[in-house]
């Protein structure tokens, strides 16, 4: 093929791979060991694998350009001030449907009934509980990264029915997440979606430990020694180093565990147990 020839004319429509027409030295095929075909994948001539797989030589950028140029005269101009953000604000719900033209005894394709509904969770008016319940109800239909809910409706035979069904799903999920059922109060620590230190067993354990130290140890750390005897166990939670520990634990559990969050946890534990490095020790470690 000449280098300046127009590829869109050489390959105008979808066709099986023709080795003599495609000017690329492609190879395709799995070689188990070096004895087969000298250890290299087979060439394109008479290559059944290349013929079996679909190719997109009919949809190169040059083709797309030509096709767009042909369709352009039927299009109207995009509204001038309609930006992406305005689109998201004015048209929050996105409905996607596909139209098919079949060449067979009937023009109709059953795949045309599929309706995809996409909407962002942030658009819906929900409080914290509602948002968490929505995520639990939707499971895989909710995408954390893009904050998008996707409903794919294909169980009804007609497109209109599937559209109505998708809208019904959205409505039902929304109103269910607004409600709070009585059994939701049975939520245990294992079911919690975020780490709330106030509700964990770890908090109780730490307070018990510090209370025990305060009452039984001969030489408790200074912050416990300065506490009056009569104060209950709960008041230990108000202390500054315990609050620091709470922050470090919450950070470590709620975000991905990283070396930095572990270091902060370490500093807070050292402070609680009276092991913090003095200024001299810090200077020494910096010198060496």
């Amino acid at each position: 093929m000449a280098v300046d020839q127009d590829w869109t004319n050489v390959w105008p429509a979808a066709a099986t791979f023709k080795p003599s027409v495609v000017p690329l030295p492609v190879r395709q095929g799995y070689i188990k060991n070096k004895s087969e075909n000298d250890g290299v994948p087979p060439v394109k001539h008479g290559n059944a694998e290349l013929m079996k797989i679909p190719n997109f030589f009919h949809l190169t950028p040059a083709h797309i350009k030509k096709q767009c140029a042909a369709i352009k005269k039927f299009c109207t101009k995009w509204p001038e001030n309609l930006s992406e953000e305005l689109c998201d604000k004015l048209f929050p719900v996105e409905i996607a449907t596909s139209n098919y033209l079949r060449s067979g005894s009937s023009l109709r394709d059953f795949k045309a009934r599929v309706v995809t509904l996409k909407v962002k969770l942030s658009v819906l008016d929900l409080d914290d509980h509602g948002r968490d319940k929505m995520k639990r109800l939707l499971k895989r239909r909710y995408d954390e990264k893009t904050d998008t809910i996707t409903f794919v409706a294909h169980r009804c035979p007609l497109r209109k029915q599937n559209y109505d069904y998708a809208m019904y799903l959205l409505t039902a999920a929304y109103f269910e997440s607004c409600k709070t059922e009585s059994w939701e109060s049975d939520k245990t620590e294992e079911d919690m979606e975020t780490y709330l230190w106030e509700k964990t067993r770890a908090r109780k354990k730490l307070l018990q430990l510090l209370d025990r130290i305060r009452k039984t140890s001969e030489d408790p750390p200074s912050y416990l020694r300065n506490m009056p005897e009569e104060l209950p166990e709960e008041s230990i939670a108000e202390l500054e180093c315990v609050q620091d520990y709470k922050k470090a634990m919450t950070e470590m559990h709620n975000s991905q565990e990283s070396l930095n969050s572990i270091e902060r946890y370490k500093e807070s534990v050292k402070r609680i147990l009276g092991l913090e490095s003095t200024e001299d020790e810090k200077k020494e470690s910096r010198v060496c």
């Binding site: 025990r212 030489d219 520990y245 572990i262 050292k270």
Partner: protein, 364 residues
């Protein structure tokens, strides 16, 4: 073809301070020698097999003084021992030096005459135990007689001198069977001997020994340290099959249960130095090396609060010292290995990982 490349003159890579209690920040990156007797009596069980081969090849046991060990030792020196034991957790990538840090700390505790409760690799119990029996003490639990027996022997070997010196006595009556029992005031070594001679009760004897240590550490004036390599095995999966397709739950192993009791804050005058190791988990659960992931929810809740200590890969200074040491010990034998270019290539191949460096140097 390398022709007369400049040779790197080795700097000083050894420190003459052989007592870990004397090690300071100035000794960072330098190697200190451990006498053979201490290695054989105390440290051998806890060392990797490849390192033991290295000891044989180099005819000496040298450990590099590094930041994590120094940090733990300084905390051990200044900790308040009237409080429940502080838990230190060593974590790091594979091959970064966690076991060596534990060996350094264990040596320090041995020199300072602490009671050593050393569990070299509990994951071994989870994965490879075949001999087990139903627990005599608690129905539903499973004993590992041979594992407990070998641990008692290991404990006796490590603490021989200290046990002779302290002459610890039992504080209460222990009944093994209708005819066998131990009165209070009997020597603790009797319990150890009983566990070794009668394997049926070895797991329970381990429990008794640990209980007595916890109770008497404060009153008898000795400090006890529990050193565990791969403590995440205490809360991990097992491969011990009870019936087809059902594996024993690690909470039902009496040996593990007894060691976990040491983690409770009901005793004083002690410390716990442990490491979490990816290798203690099956291959599917080794995605990360951080404490929370390896301990799991149950393990983290039980072990918290602890001081995590990070063991990083070698720094530039440390890796150069290590290569100097290998050249001195003739581990790096080729001419190319001793040049600057060879050194750069070794550093690149190993990616500053201590174990990878050892393996990369093997063919140089």
């Amino acid at each position: 073809m390398v022709e007369s490349q400049p040779k790197h003159t080795a700097g000083n890579f050894r420190t003459d301070k052989d007592n870990p209690a004397d090690h300071t920040e100035k000794d960072k990156g330098l190697f200190y020698t451990i006498p053979h007797k201490i290695v054989d009596d105390i440290l051998k069980e806890g060392l990797h097999s490849m390192y033991k081969q290295q000891i044989k090849a180099f005819t000496e046991t040298c450990v590099m003084v590094r930041e994590p060990a120094l940090e733990i030792m300084s905390c051990l020196k200044k900790a308040n021992y009237s409080l429940p034991p502080v838990k230190y957790l060593i974590y790091g990538e594979n091959g970064s030096g966690k076991t060596m840090t534990l060996a350094h700390v264990l040596h320090y505790c041995a020199v300072e005459k602490w009671m050593l409760v050393h569990v070299p690799w509990p994951a071994f119990w989870n994965l490879f135990t075949t001999e087990m029996s139903a627990s005599v003490w608690k129905p539903g639990r499973v004993d590992f007689p041979l594992a407990a027996d070998s641990w008692l022997k290991h404990f006796r070997q490590q603490n021989r001198a200290l046990l002779e010196q302290l002459q610890l006595k039992t504080s209460q009556k222990y009944v093994w069977t209708k005819r066998e029992s131990l009165q209070p005031g009997e020597p603790l070594t009797e319990v150890i001997e009983h566990g070794i001679s009668r394997n049926k009760f070895s797991s329970d004897c381990v429990g008794v020994v640990l209980k007595e240590i916890r109770q008497q550490a404060a009153t008898k004036g000795f400090k006890a340290v529990m050193v565990v390599d791969g403590i995440n095995a205490f809360w991990g999966p097992t491969r011990v099959r009870l019936i087809p397709k059902k594996y024993l739950h690690v909470g039902n192993i009496s040996l593990v249960h007894n060691f976990k009791k040491m983690l409770q804050p009901d005793w004083t005058n002690g410390a716990i130095v442990a490491s979490v190791d990816q290798m203690a988990h099956p291959p599917a659960q080794r995605k990360n090396y951080t404490p929370k992931y390896l301990l799991g929810k149950w393990g983290f809740e039980t072990f918290d609060p602890f001081v995590p200590v990070f063991v990083d890969k070698y720094s530039k200074k440390e890796i150069n010292r290590c290569i100097d040491y290998y050249i001195d010990r003739k581990w790096i034998q080729t001419e190319n290995g001793q040049t600057l270019e060879g050194r750069k290539e070794l550093i690149f191949l190993s990616n500053m990982n201590p174990f990878q460096l050892y393996q990369a140097c093997a063919s140089w």
